[in-house]
Subunit: 321 residues, 4 copies
């Protein structure tokens, strides 16, 4: 998943969308409603931004993920986006969680900057409990004391979440570090640590971005990183980080890996089996596509019981939890 932080104009959005599509990303991200610390910062284009995202989706064939902040906007956003994002500031906005839980679109739930992993899983429960089984958990950094990075990207959350939940886990190294130059190494690290996907900010011209430009990759760097991840993935799939192996292991329980080629991780940055890839019609992601069959029936029971629904690839095959 990649794209600009905010939708700023048709030209910039299309340029970024073309770039991420060309590099092989599986989803396009872009903010229409932007949560900004200061009321004087650019707040996003709102419904106009949604419309531009829908156009970019049609143009590139990429489904769109975008943030929703207000319970009143959920139906509108759900109409335009393939995946609804709940931002880290709203991780415990419980009415919003319930509202997106009533939609048929997958929900990308970002961990709050001061949220424990337990609190993240309980926030996901609010969504699951309303009947929406398609929740993607996203680690994006917790508050720390060191000004060197914007947040402390807690990559150990990946194996912890995999151990405690069957939900897919992705990582946002752009917000997690706050600096474009640290994104590639953290993207690689997240991938080999077992992340199911990455959420990366790409901007056609970071220097001109209205928000968070310093943490956005240029299309060139992003394309290069995608090649990198592609090369690393087969090895992960085969021997080490076991995207394919893990998928195979999971396949016995989950329909989401059916028909997915091993090592397909970087194609959509998310493993093709776990999230909608480019072959899905934009804005029209069938509910239940994602962790599907294995979640609705009793996911919260499993969470409650503290079960470890997913092996941490090779690690858990050997190390008893």
């Amino acid at each position: 998943m990649a794209g600009p932080c905010a939708v700023e104009s048709r030209e910039l959005l299309f340029a970024a969308a073309d770039a991420v599509a060309g590099a092989g990303a599986g989803l396009l991200r872009g903010g229409a409603f932007k949560p900004r610390t200061s009321p004087k910062s650019f707040q996003g284009l709102g419904s106009e931004g949604l419309s531009l995202l829908a156009q970019a989706s049609q143009r590139t064939g990429l489904p769109v993920v975008t943030e929703v902040m207000d319970t009143r906007d959920v139906p509108l956003v759900a109409e335009h986006a393939a995946v609804l994002q709940v931002g880290s500031r709203n991780m415990q906005n419980f009415p919003l969680l319930r509202e997106v839980g009533r939609q048929s679109k997958p929900v990308l739930l970002k961990r709050g900057a001061a949220a424990t992993i337990e609190e993240l899983l309980l926030a996901a429960e609010y969504i699951l409990q309303e009947g929406n089984p398609n929740v993607i958990l996203c680690e994006r950094g917790v508050r720390g004391f060191d000004p060197s990075t914007r947040y402390v990207l807690d990559l150990a959350a990946i194996p912890v979440l995999r151990e405690r939940s069957p939900l897919p886990v992705i990582v946002d190294p752009s917000h997690g570090t706050g600096h474009a130059r640290y994104v590639p190494s953290m993207a690689r690290a997240a991938m080999v640590a077992g992340a199911d996907g990455l959420l990366i900010e790409v901007h056609a011209n970071p220097a001109l971005a209205k928000c968070d430009g310093h943490q956005a990759l240029t299309p060139e760097i992003f394309a290069k990183l995608m090649v990198n991840l592609h090369e690393l993935a087969p090895l992960c799939g085969r021997v080490i980080c076991s995207v394919a192996a893990a998928d195979s292991a999971r396949a016995t329980r989950s329909p989401r890996t059916n028909g997915n080629p091993a090592g397909s991780f970087p194609a959509g940055i998310l493993p093709a089996g776990s999230l909608p890839a480019g072959n899905l019609p934009a804005g029209n992601l069938p509910a239940g596509n994602l962790p599907a069959g294995n979640l609705p029936a009793g996911s919260q029971d499993r969470l409650d019981a503290g079960q470890a629904p997913r092996p941490n690839s090779f690690d858990d095959e050997v190390i008893a939890p």
Copy 2:
């Protein structure tokens, strides 16, 4: 670098030492003087532990790294160990930093649990300023609020440190996570994020360990992880995390990569060029072997100037800092 948290007995130490040597580790770690939160916990065997470590070193051919806590013990420890460890609790024990700075042995300096990266680099300056150019920086987790892991392993510290300092950077995923089952994924992540080495706790029988057994790998898991890292390394070296490429880049400034085969990272878990590998006589690491020629003359000046002495592999070749 691998080995038990504490030296407990000849039998357990030798079993662990044989295991890590057999798996291809480049240094043996083991604590003779142990900093323990409670005065009633096992405090280590002291000088007897040093003697056992020296025997284990001779037996396996592996140089030994062990912690020193008291300025008065520095000469004794320096006599037995190839590398002196300053623990995270002592990162700002300035008299100790000065004392190890006067020795001819490399110093492994662990980041304090509440220390910024700037503070870690300034602590290293205390050692460098006394004339010892061989300082290895170690990320081992910062204090966080989530009880899921013992600390928050701050892997973004790797690219940040590489950017700000020419000193080698290693990662301790054992203390950083506090749970053996999260160690392999974090070890892989650290490696692809650019770490120059890993410090991993291995115990012949973790269930019997007198300290931190829950975070120690068994010899079997460790061996399997080493195979993993070996398989991942060439890819890193060749395409992605660029151990070799980075070494080549550094070779113009540093003698430490001379004669090292590309991608040799996992042989000693540390890249063979940056730290003493198995071909060095145990306990006899020549000073200056490490970041050597490029440090003494003006390392602190470079630190002061905020220069970025090392490329973050492919990333920095493309992304202007």
Copy 3:
């Protein structure tokens, strides 16, 4: 301001309301819509709870402060409550901030557990910018690493906030510590540090509370604490923490202290001049009553300019900021 964490039943609410009214509190707090970490915890009585709060307000003459979480609920809550609370989990729920900013009722804005003081002030700006000048800032603890207390109550935020903003500052020692037995000492500390008020949980029978009972005071302890604060206040007002002196100082700029007796702090726990006291009709707090005249015209300009609008009592008269 005092009252139960959640409205649970007519009996328990009235018992608590009578107790806090009898002890001299100036506002009644109680949760109708409760943000709970787990979806399986008691979620509050909703609109029925609002109705009970309105009855308790009529019965005791105390205005009511209660939390609103959903933009769609704002009009309903504003109809029943004298003060709208935005909880710490929603401090950066920007649509909610804007919505309460359009109401004529004062807003109690709690600091997020990972929010800097700057971020708290910027969140207040969202409300002020919509035209509502009556924002009360509330320190309630930030996330920390020590399990001894639920949060780290950051009392130094009081002088920092007073220095940077003209808005009144209150403290919630109940959530801030999470343990009833630490509440009295922290309440006293907050008061002498310059807080304009306190938000304290009181429950008729804490052992039976459906949420956060362990941090609620019994009516007896609360009454005793009120006596304590009353005794301490005149000394503060006269010599030390200078509630009256500070109010006098502010009186030149602010109408809110008009006619208030010096040292009246504990009467309503909030200084009578800065927030609606018992003499206001419940649920009918005139807008602009609060920091009134001095805010609307240019409060954000002053915030932006980093001005220090309030003296920290005796301290700032002597110490140049």
Copy 4:
């Protein structure tokens, strides 16, 4: 306890010492060996500084507290100082804790910036276990994420520590906030929260200080603050924060309150009964004077058992722990 951060010159030290003595402080603090983050910062005058401190002590009649960082310096420092300080960076320097535990002088132990309260108490155990019963615990702020203050002063640690340990608890608002203008409010808050004493930096001319000048009070402000605390104390002693009441309660177990007038807290900033006041010969504090008789026999047992050895003044008389 008050005085300059570092001993810089005879003139500046004497000016500060005269000022704090004149204002009624009970101990003089001053750093001869200074732990500094950077090796290029002023490191203190060392043994020359100790000699100047001894002269200032003789001149003013105030006993001296100063920091020791190196096990090898302990005998020298113990010769010159009445109280040995172990700084926050050395809270878990266990050899140093053991060494000061073998001295006959009281030890002021500062909490580490990332240390839990449990870890602080266990660090104190290292000292107690060596036979030195006179340990004073000092809260001085924990690492936080907000740049507004240098650390987060955790005042709730006061009632927590009082509950878990019979050792006296003091607070350092100077390091805890890092800004002189926040010190008076935090000093008052610490006092009414139950602190047994305060450690405040005073410098004859803060603008010229070689270290931490921005957090030092001028002699004038310090004198004014002392008057303030004096006026607040009787009320605390009589009604609210119960220094005297608490002391009376403790008197049944502890000889330290014998003969102390109620409410004498600010005389030495420490309650006269708990720490050496001005009537003690400088540099000659009899061991056992402090929490004396009640500690040696079984303090660690009590700590281990999790007993709550001291009432939090009025609070614990009423609230069952």
